[in-house]
């Protein structure tokens, strides 16, 4: 498809600022693939974007049912957006179940693109429709475009070498081609990707490209599809960009930290949704010397990491809620041994197995207090997919410098979503190396002799002569590290471990205020960043005086946080939990706040926060 063909045959498209599109179909229909490819084309075109994949926990739920619907939402814009959008302007529904599961979210007047071949009696019944919604007027508030995508695909791919029912597998590419036409995206990047992935001359590769082109051409030739849209590139800050998924950015941040700490990277991990792709990404980079160890369970995941830390690696373990619980005992050991370790908790809906593929922020209290004994450790959080690189780097920096386990909180939304990321100049990243301990002379090496400022202890690794020492879970003498049951020593060590973490506040940035002098402060942490910032910007634009502060560091809090909180009469804390940060600021500073708490397994929506802010401004909230 050359660009010439594209301009010649195209009616003048309508310019729009942004659009939220949701691709929805059966979990075997390839909606994640189509969404990802549409996103890639948009990214290469220069739009700003944010994505939200949503899929069932079951690998293949019963076909055609609501439970089996998989979707991928992408928000593309010619301006700097921060969220994947609250509600889709356009829904692609590959079957009745996909329509039924998503129709309530679509904005009134929105565009719905239907695969009409799937709307037969059997599929309608599986989705729970008594009448065909395409015929009974149920969709009259929307602009509906339908195409018999299955028949058209079968016809298009008849010479590809793919036979029988397998031809239908390319129908997602037909939909992608048609959507590319409607939203004025080039299909060349998709063809290039398909050729690389499936091979240019293979039956499957050929069928995919044929279906893609057929979908695009169907748009050209069918008058119903001649109202098309165009979104200009976004004026992002100058630089080189890539479209990055949060878990991948987390993995890369850890790799960068290892390089800048001059350490080998070791990951001990057990597969768990939605954290697994960090393990998968790091396993690809053996040529960096990265060692990934797929352990027999979560406990061994953190255990191997702790062993690797003792041996001198930058040690990491990755997990999600249930796994965090299993790692708790070993985290306490790492804490009393004072060895560096990064635990990445990709939070998901809980308790128990909960909602394995959905987002929640409900592990904050567990991260803070979920260990036996007095066992403080630093907590760093991630605010967006493109922030995960920096957050992972920061978590590693603190772990190494302060010889402590650190919990990095991300979540299921950040894990799987993507957005443009301005590539950092890797050479400009700070040196975070600590260096291993060295020791000369006949005096005994003292593994717990601390740095006066940071209270951090030396890191002496096996293989180095003259520093043979034993670490253990038993309380240690304050300098020699030998087992000590002396009452005063235990009290001193307990206070020292607390003080060491508290002093990290001297080494982290102060919290910044977006706005200033507002009536209300909206305080957030983690992946609610985009939604809160968007909501605050909207109410500011409407003339209201509202500020936003977002926390990267939750333990310890930034030094100025108490003063900042004290300067507002009203503090609103939106969280995807029942108010865990609210409780922490009350415990720490005695600060009362208004919680806005949603736990639906979906990211916070900017519009909901905006309404809440307006409600609070009117004094209607408590």
């Amino acid at each position: 498809m050359s660009d010439d063909t594209l301009t010649e045959s195209r009616p003048v498209p309508e310019k729009i600022d942004d659009v939220v599109i949701r691709f929805a179909g059966d979990s075997g229909d390839g909606m994640q693939l189509v969404g990802t490819q549409f996103t890639s084309s948009s990214a290469l075109f220069g739009n700003d974007l944010a994505t939200l994949p949503d899929f069932p926990a079951e690998i293949r739920a019963p076909q055609g049912t609501i439970g089996g619907v998989s979707s991928f939402q992408v928000h593309i814009a010619d301006w700097d957006i921060l969220t994947p959008g609250d509600r889709p302007d356009c829904l692609v529904a590959m079957n009745p179940a996909a329509l039924k599961a998503n129709i309530d979210d679509v904005v009134p007047g929105g565009l719905i693109l239907i695969n009409s071949d799937a709307f037969d009696e059997r599929n309608l019944a599986k989705a729970g429709y008594e009448d065909n919604p395409l015929e009974n007027g149920a969709l009259e508030n929307f602009k509906v475009l339908s195409a018999p995508m299955e028949d058209l695909t079968k016809e298009a791919v008849k010479d590809s070498g793919v036979k029988g029912r397998a031809t239908l597998r390319s129908k997602n590419f037909f939909a992608l081609g048609l959507m590319s036409w409607i939203y004025t995206r080039s299909i060349d990047p998709v063809i290039e990707w398909s050729n690389g992935k499936f091979g240019e001359d293979t039956p499957v590769g050929t069928a995919n490209v044929m279906a893609l082109k057929a979908g695009y051409n169907y748009g050209i030739t069918t008058e119903a599809f001649h109202h098309t849209f165009e979104i200009d590139p976004a004026p992002l800050p100058a630089g080189e960009y890539t479209n990055v998924v949060g878990n991948v950015a987390t993995a890369w941040g850890l790799m960068a930290a290892a390089e800048h700490a001059e350490l080998a990277l070791f990951l001990g991990s057990y597969p768990i949704t939605p954290a697994t792709t960090i393990l998968e990404e790091l396993a690809r980079h053996r040529n960096f010397g990265v060692k990934t160890f797929q352990a027999e369970d979560e406990i061994a995941g953190v255990g191997t990491a702790l062993g690797a830390s003792f041996a001198g690696s930058l040690a990491v373990t990755t997990t999600s809620g249930p796994g965090l619980a299993l790692k708790s005992e070993t985290l306490s050991l790492a804490l009393i041994m004072e060895l560096p370790l990064v635990l990445v908790d990709v939070q998901r809906g809980g308790p128990s197995t909960g909602l394995p593929t959905k987002v929640e922020q409900s592990d904050l209290m567990f991260a803070m207090y979920g260990r036996h004994g007095e066992s403080p450790l630093p907590i760093v959080s991630t605010s967006a997919p493109s922030d995960a690189f920096d957050a992972a780097f920061e978590a590693a920096r603190i772990a190494i410098k302060y010889m402590t386990p650190v919990i990095l909180l991300t979540d299921g939304y950040i894990a799987t979503s993507s957005e443009p990321w301005k590539l950092p100049d890797l050479k400009e990243l700070p040196d975070i190396s600590k260096g291993y301990a060295t020791h000369e002379g006949d005096e005994a090496f003292l593994p717990y002799q601390r740095d006066e400022d940071t209270l951090s202890r030396p890191w002496a690794i096996p293989g180095q002569p003259g520093m043979e020492h034993r670490l253990g879970g038993l309380e240690k003498d304050a300098t020699s590290g030998n087992v000590s049951y002396v009452p005063q020593n235990h009290e001193d060590m307990t206070f020292t471990r607390q003080e060491k973490i508290a002093r990290i506040a001297n080494d982290i940035p102060e919290v910044e205020i977006h706005g200033g002098g507002g009536e209300i402060l909206v305080l957030g942490w983690g992946s609610t960043f985009g939604a809160i910032r968007t909501a605050v910007n909207r109410v500011q634009k409407a003339g209201h005086s509202v500020d936003h502060a977002h926390l990267r560091h939750i333990n310890p809090f930034p030094k100025n946080l108490e003063e900042v909180l004290g300067s507002y009469d009203t503090i609103l804390v939106p969280e995807i939990n029942l108010g865990q940060l609210s409780k922490l600021i009350r415990a720490e500073f005695g600060t009362e706040s208004i919680g806005y708490n949603r736990v639906m397994g979906i990211p916070m929506r900017a519009r909901d926060i905006e309404f809440k802010i307006l409600e609070v401004l009117e004094g209607g909230a408590s």
């Binding site: 630089g239 960009y241 479209n243 990055v244 010397g289 702790l306 062993g307 003792f310 690794i461 034993r470």
Partner: protein, 338 residues
């Protein structure tokens, strides 16, 4: 075993920590054997790492003047796997017991063995929970009366050697604390083996389970009950070599040599790649009662996990070149905003 004088003697491996096992505990003789053996090796002291879990025996690292970690209950094989994988130049020893290694830590033990991580695992089997003062353990005999089994234990015990062989461990051996020379011989065989090894040591707990191994230690009975496994030799034992082991369709069995003829006695082959033969030998005794095999059951060359991982890293570097993160972060396509 090395017999030349090395630069170390036993005291170089002793720490200034007071050893706090009960007087008469079998752990003392094992500690002395390990210290003596390490002193005999020409390997830098700082290259040894001892990793233990929780239990009486797990205090062991505090008494070894090497690098060491006293960790959480049952997790030593996992933590040690991290040490050995992160730095394959180290010699990593795991100290565990029947409760630590076979109960709470059973999962980590079998996975470390099947993965063939380069670990020397010493399992102190005293058939009792000692540190918690005398409850039945996963190796206590059926019917054992303890504080938590006043009517006798109804838990069927593990045979640790059978378990290790079932996990396809590449090195499995057994010895007894009273026999220091044999203990050192077994430590040496395990150390020379690349990959994971498990050495079960029958260790007497003279406070909570005294004389558990009497069949194998009493002067009157021991010669008839210790089945010595010597690689390449017929399995013959008894004060006058009157007993031997043969195989029939049902497995291994003890016979009188005179009855079957010496040429029909099974010749032990620890390097047999098929673990079933060693497994059959391990079934000759279920617990230290009556004739019980001691020695190396299995010793086969299998590439260790750490070595294979190093190979992967070398191959990846050859194929992809040394890592360049600036290329990785651009690997999924980029665009430039002017």
């Amino acid at each position: 075993m090395t017999t030349e004088k090395t630069r170390y003697d036993r005291s170089d491996f002793q720490t200034d920590q007071e050893v706090r096992w009960c007087p008469g505990c079998g752990d003392y003789t094992i500690l002395a054997a390990v210290q003596s053996y390490l002193a005999s090796l020409d390997i830098d002291r700082e290259k040894h790492v001892f990793v233990s879990g929780i239990g009486c025996s797990s205090r062991f690292p505090y008494y070894m003047n090497t690098y060491g970690m006293h960790t959480v209950h049952g997790r030593a094989p996992a933590i040690a796997s991290g040490v050995a994988t992160a730095n394959p130049d180290l010699t990593v020893w795991v100290i565990t017991g029947d409760g630590d290694g076979l109960s709470i830590g059973g999962n980590h033990l079998i996975h470390a063995l099947r993965r063939n991580v380069n670990l020397n695992i010493i399992l102190f089997n005293n058939q009792i929970y000692g540190l918690t003062k005398g409850q039945f353990s996963p190796t206590s005999e059926l019917g054992k009366k303890t504080k938590t089994s006043p009517m006798g234990s109804i838990d069927r015990p593990f045979n640790p050697v059978s378990l290790a062989l079932g996990s396809e461990a590449s090195f499995v051996a057994r010895t007894i604390d009273m026999d220091r020379n044999h203990t050192i011989k077994m430590l040496s065989a395990m150390y020379e083996h690349d990959g994971s090894g498990l050495l079960e040591i029958y260790q007497n707990c003279n406070v909570f389970n005294d004389k558990a191994f009497l069949d194998l230690t009493d002067k009157g009975t021991r010669d008839g009950n210790r089945i010595w496994l010597e690689d390449g030799e017929p399995i013959i034992f008894g004060a006058d070599d009157e007993y031997g082991v043969t195989f029939d369709g049902q497995g291994a069995k003890v016979v009188e040599v005179a009855g079957v003829g010496r040429h029909n006695i099974h010749v032990h082959d620890a390097a047999n790649p098929n673990p079933s033969v060693a497994f059959a030998l391990s079934r000759l005794a279920h617990g230290p009662y009556g004739p019980t095999p001691l020695g190396v059951f299995r010793n086969v060359p299998v590439p260790s996990y750490g070595r294979m991982l190093e190979q992967h890293i070398a191959q990846a570097k050859d194929k992809q070149g040394p890592g360049d993160l600036s290329k990785v972060i651009r690997s999924r396509g980029t665009w430039t905003v002017e």
